[in-house]
């Protein structure tokens, strides 16, 4: 798997390169500024881009903007955005462009190495990896949503995990229930939220995120 990494802090960049290499990924480019990142993404067309939101030269959201711009040029480009804080606004902007896999995680998540690597692979495979923090922000915004209020607490849990990008099997193992029970919950959620039921797991995740982001 070919990775392009955009991270300006040497400490983290080197650590991530070592981590990816140890798990059999190839870092084809590791850059430390927004313009370079955009060039590298367009040039290498990697299997996944791992991008820090804040990059030089402006030290604002240079990385995020480079990722969004790359996705307008290459809509299928999978992007995993890392940041030291998550903003719902950024998640919304990311979701609005492209079709490829998408991830938005707090940098803290790299300490759970296996799950982090799994998230990178999910995104590379076209899936979604939303930080639980983002998802809980999204859910909090719908606190008074009537439709969401109809969900049982179990269904809300399933909705949260689904929004993070977990597969049915992943949700089942986390909640210690059968996959069949999970599909039933998901079916209920879609009915209660008036969402069009989709068979494809990834399309379902996007449907949920779109609903929450609206």
């Amino acid at each position: 798997m070919r990775v392009v990494l955009g991270e300006d802090l040497t400490l983290l960049r080197d650590g991530l390169i070592r981590l990816f290499t140890a798990y059999g990924m190839e870092v084809v480019a590791a850059v430390d500024s927004g313009p370079e990142l955009l060039r590298a993404l367009v040039h290498h067309r990697p299997d996944v881009a791992v991008v820090d939101v804040r990059l030089p030269p402006t030290f604002t959201d240079e990385g995020l903007r480079a990722a969004i711009q790359a996705r307008t040029q290459l809509p299928a480009l999978p992007v995993l955005v890392l940041s030291q804080h998550v903003e719902q606004l950024y998640a919304k902007e990311l979701l609005s462009v492209g079709t490829g896999g998408l991830g938005y995680l707090l940098k803290d998540r790299v300490s759970d190495v296996l799950r982090f690597i799994e998230a990178v692979r999910t995104v590379a495979g076209g899936g979604t990896a939303m930080d639980p923090e983002v998802v809980s922000q999204l859910l909090a915004r719908h606190e008074r949503d009537e439709q969401l209020g109809r969900l049982t607490s179990r269904e809300r849990e399933v909705l949260g995990l689904m929004a993070e990008g977990h597969s049915n099997a992943g949700i089942a193992s986390r909640l210690v229930v059968t996959e069949k029970a999970v599909s039933k919950h998901i079916g209920n959620i879609f009915t209660k939220l008036d969402l069009y039921p989709a068979e494809d797991a990834n399309r379902r995740v996007l449907a949920v995120l779109t609903y929450l982001n609206a």
Binding site: L9, L11, L12, G15, L19, A22, Q84, S111, V113, F116
Partner: protein, 417 residues
Amino acid sequence: MIDVGESIARLVRPTLRTCLRGMLLAVTAVARLPLFVASLVCVLLLPAGLGVVLAPKSLLAVRRQASLQRRWALEWSGVTIATPYRPRSAKPANRLFLAFRRCGWVLGDPATWRDLVWTLVDVPVSGVLGLLPGFLVGAGAWTLGDDILWLAGWVGSAPHGFLVQVLLLGMLPLGVIAGPWLLRMHAAAASSLLAPTKKEMAARVGQLTESRWDAVDASAAELRRIERDLHDGAQARLVALGMNIGFAEQMVRDNPDLALTLLAEARASSGEALSELRALVRGIHPPALAERGLDGAVRALALSLPLPVDVHIELPGRPSAPVESAAYFTIAEALANVVKHSGATRAWVQLEYDHGRLVAIVGDNGAGGANPRAGGGLQGIERRLNAFDGTVAVTSPAGGPTQVTMELTCELSLART
């Protein structure tokens, strides 16, 4: 009986106070005359050069007297007279240039000349308004005393004719009632010369608006810097720390050597995160400043430097927290310049309080030749001092020694030293 005594005392005490204050006004007005003459002489000496140093000195003494008058007006008569003086520029300069600038600052301020005129005008004004309460009350009380003696039969005949009696006795209540009003008249007269003119007020408002924007700008930049430092510093180190530990956790069985390396790096990361946090905290508000005040913090700072620093601090009280912080950071920046640029083997810090100004002197025995206009650390000092009408003077002849004198206006709390 007691009640009567008390109510008499309640009447007598303020009256006596008013009379004495009036006399004090008159006496001080006369006592200031030599200062007036001295100031005129100093101004005449200006072409001779010596006046450049002496004239501001004596005119500032006049200014202090005027300030005393303003305070009395407020405390005695409730008349607020705003301070009209222009602020000093905090631009760093060498000592000679600074002396000229100080001269221009004092002599160029119309308020200085109005103060001087008041010094002269106040003699007749307070001669009348200040002494009148005492005269009225004194004459009335004297007559009353005489009359009591006469009525008691100690003295043979009435001291005066009837009409004169009535007039003289009438002075007593008149003095009691009119006394405070006369002092207020005096305060109002003082205000006409000692208060800022409308134009000066407008100019001052303009300056304050500007310096407020500077302060707001500076604090916004400061917050941004803190956020950056945290984001790229401690926060990033903690992320790396988590990553290393998590990675090591995975590697501990298959690749123990790598796990060990990762853990060692994690430990280093945690130490660096802590020291970065410490440095950041020190840059926001040094712990020693919080714990020991300016005195202790400057001493602690001096000890932490790689060269011996003599510290002399004489403060009769503590300045307010913002002043302490500004003074601390200006001294810290000056000392940082010493360490970075001077090549000195010794440095000294002197901190004193003199007539409402906190004076900090940072010197070193290094190479000298520091250019106050080259910016760098000195600009940071200037920015910090601007909010306090402060000044910076630099003397740095080639070959040294270099001395940076910083002054800022403040009051000390007298509570503790």
